[in-house]
């Protein structure tokens, strides 16, 4: 992946650079930050995460499986316990709830992995170890023709370092 990488030490200059890059439409922008910053989220204005759909589907599958396994096994060996019905919904709700939480959480994690594209084998292109420390980073994916414009823009906003990545 070709592009230009800029490293910033200040949050406000990073945000200004993002806003201007979005206006200029010079290429796809990836922003790195040592932690979550709502200022960056607002500047990027990305769509809402779809992880919630994984959570919903996983939770529904889990609760269905929890009730199904309880009812099916109860029906398979129909022994009356404590005078309760074979398919007693109150005790089976506990199983349904626990399996809903289990499958819902695991599918949430799966959703996060799929959408965040992890695990990944390499972090090298468009990444700098400083971005997990005290620096913010902006990587603009663009060809050699637009690279000078991107470099100029990042430098104008006070990037500590600007370099081309290939």
């Amino acid at each position: 992946m070709q592009g230009v990488l800029g490293a910033f030490h200040h949050l406000d200059t990073t945000v200004h650079a993002i806003e201007e890059l979005k206006k200029a439409r010079l290429g796809d922008v990836t922003v790195y930050s040592p932690t979550i910053r709502h200022e960056i989220d607002e500047a990027i204005d990305a769509p809402n995460s779809v992880v919630r759909r994984f959570t919903l589907i996983g939770g529904l599958l889990g609760v269905s499986f929890g009730y199904w396994i309880s009812i099916w096994t109860g029906d398979y060996w129909p022994l009356v316990t404590g005078g309760k019905a074979i398919a007693s919904w109150i005790p089976y709700t506990i199983i349904g709830f626990e399996v809903m939480v289990l499958v819902g959480c695991l599918s949430t994690v799966a959703g996060m992995f799929i959408n965040a594209r992890i695990p990944r084998l390499t972090t090298t292109v468009g990444y700098d170890p400083r971005f997990s420390g005290g620096h913010f980073g902006i990587f603009v994916s663009c060809g050699a023709d637009k690279a000078p414009q991107v470099e100029a823009l990042l430098q104008k906003h006070g990037a500590d370092e600007v370099r081309r990545e290939a």
């Binding site: 406000d12 932690t35 819902g104 992995f113």
Partner: protein
């Protein structure tokens, strides 16, 4: 993801709201990295502590081998008391785990600022406490190799566990809790593993942290999905933590045994679990902040805020104790009335009074702000609370079984050396894992600490917007 609330100014006393607890002595991101990573170096004290923990764990392991060879009769069970130290210790450790999830999930949803510095240690404590608790039902069944019978698995006779049994609910609740707590801990650790990967100089450790970080790059895409996933994990963990100890309480409350058959048990158990779990957080965090020189991360304001939670849960637990006595009297059921008299004046009176002293009386000292901000007192109080909460479970399990409806069934119970070895071993097992954890992984969430540190700005008062 921590609170971004600013410190309250103009207060003459440092009695600040829990949501506003800050770490003013930490000024930049690099300082967070430097100081938290510095806790990972091995020290002689740590090795000594690990040695003691492993030795204690081996005491328990030896007792287990002995019990497997000679049979469950080596435990102190004698009819009618067929639940003893193993079940008491099981409930104790499940309870310890609850504070971790409360701090990491529930206080996260409530945006309580004081959680940021302590939640990672508390979360790890949860995982290791549940790992410890999970051993005891397996030990208790006597033939641990038959444990898988409790898990629904396709077998040639198509036999299935009874899903109407609270013991099977327990299997589901505890295994779900362990899985989700471990997942929650690991997901929160991924960005911190990336920090360690990027700072590590030892190639072997760098590679291991690289694998554990899953190639995390701190990109906006990763953070966006991470934040949403973390929120949902917290949202799931919140009812889960309430359900787990409720389900554990059903092990008792579903029976007709005097002292057990009470509808107050689920909230009473949950409050007790949070109470004991916070005490264990103090037992761990107070020495940790001193030995790792983290007093400016876990400040007196943090301890003050946790002390308020302990005071509140102590009041809830105390109220539950009193309600149990009231309901026994008000019910007019003779065996219940007789039993509750027996609980405080009978054979086990001393255990009940230890419980009342440690869980109801001593925590009342926390009405004093001076004591809430005194780490030495809080640490000693945490030990008393841990003792009191172990005895609370003793008082629930043993006197009830030894004093049921028929006088000819009444009996006694004396824990054997095998029982006590398991108790010692459980502490060894728990602290062994915790000590290994604190030297391999960041004991505080670097990523969340950075979130409450004010980031560097080139132009003052510029929030980053035009």
């Amino acid at each position: 993801m921590g609170t971004i609330a600013q410190p309250v100014e103009g207060l003459r006393r440092p009695n600040i709201a829990s949501a506003d607890v800050q770490i003013p002595a930490v000024t930049d991101y690099e300082q967070v990295d430097r100081e938290i990573i510095a806790t990972l170096g091995f020290t002689k004290k740590w090795l000594l502590g690990l040695g003691v923990a492993v030795a204690a764990m081996l005491v328990g392991a030896s007792a287990w081998i002995y019990q497997i060879y000679w049979g469950l009769g080596q435990a102190g069970y004698e009819p009618p008391v067929m639940w003893g130290v193993y079940i008491i210790t099981f409930v104790f450790w499940v309870g310890i785990g609850h504070a971790g999830t409360l701090i990491s999930a529930i206080l996260y949803l409530f945006r309580a600022g004081f959680r940021t510095s302590i939640y990672r240690a508390a979360e790890a404590m949860t995982v290791f406490a549940v790992m410890t608790a999970g051993l005891f039902p397996i030990i208790h069944i006597g033939r641990p190799w038959k444990f898988f019978w409790l898990i629904p698995n396709p077998n040639w006779r198509l036999l299935w566990p009874n899903f109407k049994s609270p013991l099977v609910w327990d299997v589901f609740a505890i295994s779900t809790y362990l899985t989700i707590s471990t997942t929650f801990l690991y997901i929160g650790l991924i960005p911190d593993f990336a920090v360690l990967r990027d700072r590590e100089t030892n190639p072997m450790r760098k590679r291991i942290y690289g694998i554990l970080s899953l190639g995390w790059r701190n990109s906006d895409r990763e953070w966006r999905h991470f934040a949403k996933a973390y929120l949902f994990l917290a949202a799931f963990s919140t009812p889960l933590v309430l359900s787990v100890h409720s389900v554990v309480s059903f092990d008792f409350a579903m029976s007709l045994v005097p002292g057990w058959h009470a509808s107050i048990f689920p909230p009473y158990f949950v409050a007790g679990a949070i109470f004991s779990g916070f005490a264990m957080v103090w037992t761990i965090a107070i020495p940790m902040r001193k030995w790792f020189k983290l007093e400016h991360y876990i400040t007196l304001n943090h301890l003050d805020a946790t002390a308020k939670v302990v005071l509140f849960t102590s009041l809830v637990v105390g109220c539950a104790y009193m309600i149990e006595f009231f309901i026994a009297w008000y019910s007019g059921v003779r065996p219940e009335q007789e039993f509750f008299w027996y609980r405080v004046f009978g054979q086990w009176w001393w255990a009940a009074w230890i419980m009342l002293l440690c869980n109801m009386a001593l925590p009342m000292s926390l009405w004093s702000q001076k004591l809430r901000r005194n780490p030495t007192w809080l640490w000693f109080l945490s030990i008393f609370i841990n003792i009191g909460m172990w005895y609370e479970r003793f008082v629930i399990v043993v006197p009830s079984l030894s004093h049921e409806f028929e006088p000819w069934q009444w009996g006694s119970y004396t824990p054997s050396w095998v029982d006590m070895s398991f108790l010692v071993g459980s502490f060894g097992w728990f602290f062994m894992w915790f000590l290994l954890f604190v030297k391999q992984m960041p004991v505080m969430a670097i990523m969340e600490l950075k979130e409450i540190v004010v980031p560097k700005r080139k132009h003052a008062h510029d929030g980053g917007h035009h």
